[in-house]
Amino acid sequence: MSIQIEHISKRYGSFTALADVSLTIGSGELVALLGPSGSGKTTLLRIIAGLESSDEGSILLHGEESTRHSASRRGIGFVFQHYALFRHMTIIENVAFGLRVQSRLLRPSRSIIRERVRELLHLVQLDSFAEMYPEQLSGGQRQRVALARALAVKPKVLLLDEPFSALDAKVRKELRDWLRRIHDDLHVTTVLVTHDQEEALEVADRVAILNLGKLEQTGTPESIYNNPASPFVYNFLGNVNLFHGRLLAELSFEERAGSTERSIDSAIGFVRPHELELSRNLPADRRAVVASVLRVHAAGPQIRLELSIAGSGRSVAAELSRKQFEQLALVPGDKVFVWPQYIRLFDDDRAMSLLLDQGAGI
């Protein structure tokens, strides 16, 4: 079932939680609403669920206006950040709840309910936990129960509100992959709210990025990562890029000063850490800045370096493969030449992106 979000606005007093957000989610799609806290992503999810009302705009479920339908009548499965399992019920009772409270006419027979609950517990791999209480389960197990409970009523839409954020990193990763597999099996239209860009990019078919109640960009994970539409998106998708922007703004001013291109001097530039090239010798055909190595983080597949630009003292992060790092053999205190392979420039006012291949030019 498709979800159409049309011109949704929501204010809390003077605070604007959502400003004219429109988004269409196709049937069977898994869309991630990604944004920092306070961006309005959870509010939007709760409005889709009917747990919150919008000030303006409407929600269409499968083309049908449902803004006025209460949450209990929207046919929605909702998974909460903190599980919200019924603590006085066993796991089996939790999962069966949505079926048991259906009106007499719709309610399946006891044996059908039992069968369905068993299937779901099998799906979430918790068959042997049926008679336990939520308190006896780990966080990851509880969230799986919550998902089974939400799926029991055969929802047309599944909404997940930061479902994995209360779990530790390893479990989070497992559940993420597992959620994707379940989605591929069931093809329920799914909206996942998250502040974790890695999670969004990895799981979703499409990512919608929210900032300050506005939709910044929507697209496939690949297109968003490769073509961020605004400095915000660029910044949000990479981990450590704010100072790069400043560094490269400086860098681009420097190297563009003599050139004839216009309006570049008012732009901000970004380079991701792995797009920086490092060398002990100045290459003949390039311009580069000199930096000294402050710190080396050598644990992990990529070696992360903290550099300090000579002169300005600005600190910059670079990422090298282990092989490159071993060739350079850098230790803290070493001097190194730094230049970007790629630079992405954003015009200050229009947040327009230009991709420049710096590698050949400088």
Binding site: S70, I76, F86, H88, Y133
Partner: protein, 293 residues
């Protein structure tokens, strides 16, 4: 020789001689206080009641007036307690689950009966429902008796026991949050199902606890009831009032016999309360243990 020893937590675990003396003194003092002001008086009630023998004790209790007072007290409690239960639940639900104007005012109002002297509460009712009160003329026109009749006693008891259920439930429900109820709603449950299947099972112990406190208070209430009852023997005397009347008539044995019934009621409620604490405490403890393993 060794200088000052720093006072640390270990010195509390392994007390010096002086600390030990201090601890024993404190314990003795509080025990003495309890003995003198609580246990001894309660014991006196029973010894006085039984001082003229078991037969007289039984006869004093089986007096028609005492039996009537016992019945009336039971009747008043059985009306006031369910009313408080319903009110307490409604108020706690509203306060913990909704945002509305005047919420803090409502919370303050709930506490009024605890801060106002019961006598004042009784007088307020006389002022409103009494023969010369605001509604007095209208009530007497319709031949309705509130003051110096059973309805007044019920009203006064309800007022005094008003906060007990709500005060137990509000902090408890606040701590629990409304996540489970929201989850139930999204799963398609209607209000009735949410209440009976999710809310009530979660709050039942706190609710029972508050109800017991309200019941014990409504049985023992004296001040407010005394003002509105009019002390009409066999018509408007509850057990506490009957005790006072017997005492004022120098009928000590009967007074203490009736008082022993009230004391017994208090002991029983305390027992139930303690049992509740133990069972729910144990239950929680067990669940934690299981969760850990």
């Amino acid at each position: 020789m060794t200088g000052h020893r720093p006072v640390s937590s270990s010195s509390l675990l392994h007390p010096s001689r002086a600390q030990q003396v201090g601890r024993v003194t404190l314990i003795l003092l509080s025990l003495l206080f309890l003995l003198g002001f609580l246990i001894l008086p309660v014991a006196v009630v029973f010894t006085q009641a039984l001082s003229q023998g078991w037969k007289l004790y039984r006869d004093s209790i089986c007096q028609a007036y005492v039996l009537f007072a016992l019945r009336l007290t039971g009747l008043v409690a059985s009306i006031a307690v369910p009313l408080n239960l319903v009110f307490g639940l409604a108020a706690s639900w509203a306060i913990t689950r909704f945002e509305f104007h005047g919420k803090s005012l409502l919370i303050t109002f709930i506490d009024i009966p605890l801060s106002v002297s019961p006598v004042v509460a009784g007088m307020m009712y006389v002022e409103v429902f009494g023969l010369h009160g605001w509604l007095g003329p209208w009530l007497s026109e319709h031949n309705l008796h509130v003051i110096f009749a059973v309805p007044g006693i019920v009203l006064a008891t309800v007022f005094v026991t008003f906060p007990f259920v709500a005060r137990e439930l509000i902090p408890f429900m606040q701590a629990q949050g409304s996540d489970e109820e929201v989850a139930a709603v999204v799963l398609g449950a209607n209000g009735w199902n949410v209440f009976w299947r999710v809310t009530l099972p979660n709050i039942k112990w706190a609710l029972l606890y508050g109800t017991i406190l309200a019941a014990s208070r409504s049985i023992g209430e004296f001040g407010a009831v005394s003002v509105v009852s009019g002390h009409i023997r066999g018509k408007t005397t509850t057990l506490p009032l009957q005790v006072e009347m017997l005492y004022n008539e120098y009928n000590f044995t009967a007074a203490f016999a009736a008082a022993s019934l009230l004391t017994l009621a208090a002991v029983v409620t305390l027992g139930i309360k303690k049992a509740l604490e133990v069972t729910t405490g144990l239950r929680r403890g067990n669940e934690k243990e299981e969760a850990k393993s």
